[in-house]
């Protein structure tokens, strides 16, 4: 994606507005992730500030939004973006920094993360929220992918997770790294999958931790509903 600050990291996507146009809420203004959000609350962390839902005041009318043309080009006839369309779009963008297609599984969980109306597809506002989040995660990733290989080493992955504000044990970090490594490295699309899951699961947990104790008692059915949706 040809966002300011990306330099040569992937070709501009077809139909993307030129860099000269102001992008409402598209970039994080360059502040490093670790400065976002302030102190973690108890056992939790603040999310990487990239994901806070719509960050603009009164949203511009959709058709005036620079992202709109881009969205409709990807969404096609049905006006919504499904996992396959998202995969194609992200692969073409070169956002992963490698030559392999962006993981379809990651696309599915990104849609699941934002799918408020449970359609299995993304509408325009959800799409904008996703790009904001992706941009933030990408910037975080780039802090650790110094050789621009599109991958990070396991311990850099741990650092990236901590940089987003998550406070988890070394054991939990090991679980995460094992789950998301391929051939001893963590690729960008798997890193994104990890960010999505961490964010969604932390959200789910926090909403049930009414006493802010860092502990939740789940009923089985609710547990399955929360954990299988992601």
């Amino acid at each position: 994606m040809a966002y300011p600050g990306y330099g040569g990291y992937g070709a501009p996507m077809p139909g993307m507005p030129h860099q000269g146009m102001p992008h409402q809420g598209m970039t994080m203004g360059g502040h490093p992730m670790s400065q976002m959000g302030g102190q973690p609350q108890g056992a939790y962390a603040q999310y990487g500030g990239a994901y806070q839902g719509a960050t603009y005041g009164a949203p511009p009318a959709a058709t005036n939004d620079p992202m709109w043309g881009y969205f409709t080009a990807i969404a096609g006839q049905d006006g919504e973006i499904d996992a396959d369309e998202l995969q194609r779009c992200l692969t073409q963008s070169g956002i992963s920094g490698t030559y392999t297609p962006f993981s379809l599984e990651t696309c599915k969980i990104m849609i699941a993360m934002l799918d408020r109306d449970h359609t299995g597809k993304m509408g325009f506002n959800e799409f904008k929220d996703l790009f904001t989040a992706l941009n933030g995660w990408k910037q975080n990733f780039l802090m650790f992918d110094r050789d621009r290989s599109g991958t990070v080493e396991p311990q850099e992955m741990s650092q990236a997770v901590s940089a987003m504000g998550y406070r988890v044990s070394p054991q939990a970090l090991n679980v995460i790294i094992r789950r998301y490594s391929k051939n001893g490295r963590v690729y960008f699309d798997d890193y994104v999958a990890c960010c999505v899951k961490l964010r969604s699961l932390t959200d789910v947990f926090r909403r049930r931790d009414t006493m802010q104790q860092g502990a939740v008692s789940f009923q089985y059915d609710d547990f399955i509903l929360c954990t299988m949706s992601i």
Binding site: V168, A172, I176, K182, D209, Q219, F223
Partner: protein
């Protein structure tokens, strides 16, 4: 992986002397290091025609399966883990094939619900809806989606049950523990 030219894993009747019949197959898939990685598992299942369609078996599902059985936390599968997996996969495949009458390689939501029910799961309509949506593509469930769903349900239920000390259907999780359980499933 250049392994012997059988299309499917050898059945119990396959003569391999005194060795476990599955061992020869296992070692040809595992290669030099004697352990099966997610990529090797994917190649193996694809070549066996396990997915029942022309697409490769889903790599993500392979990673899930290895994680599920990975007791020594090595990130790959040894022989005993492989045997356990083969046995589970064959069971799931038989169930799936029974339901996939038109041999399309996919089943619908209702059939999936019946399958889950027959495995002993008894979810609310809401939980069921969530499970089905997450593991289907355009309303249909392919074999590797079905396996992913079974694997995850089994793993999550297992973790939950171990924390449900009074067997009342309630389990308490600390945040860190919750993250460990859910990020590995």
């Amino acid at each position: 992986m250049a392994y012997p030219g059988y299309g499917a894993p050898p059945q119990a009747g396959y003569a391999m002397g005194q060795q476990d019949p599955l061992y020869g197959f296992f070692s040809s898939v595992a290669g030099q290091d004697g352990q099966i990685s997610a990529e090797e598992l994917q190649r193996c299942l694809t070549q066996c025609g396990m997915s029942g369609s022309y697409k490769p078996f889903n790599l993500e599902t392979c990673r899930l399966m290895i994680n599920m059985l990975d007791r020594d936390m090595s990130g790959s599968m040894g022989f005993n883990e492989f045997k356990e997996l083969s046995s589970a996969l064959n069971g799931w495949k038989q169930n799936f094939v029974t339901m996939d009458r038109d041999r399309s390689g996919t089943i619908d939501a209702q059939e999936m619900q019946q399958a889950l029910s027959s495995m002993g799961y008894n979810f609310s309509p809401q939980a069921l809806g969530v499970v089905l949506r997450r593991h289907s593509t355009l309303g249909r469930i392919a074999f590797d989606d079905y396996v992913a769903c079974c694997v995850r349900l089994r793993s999550l239920t297992d973790h939950f049950r171990r924390r449900d000390s009074s067997q009342q259907g309630t389990a308490a999780f600390q945040y860190d523990d919750f993250i460990q359980v859910t990020m590995s499933s």
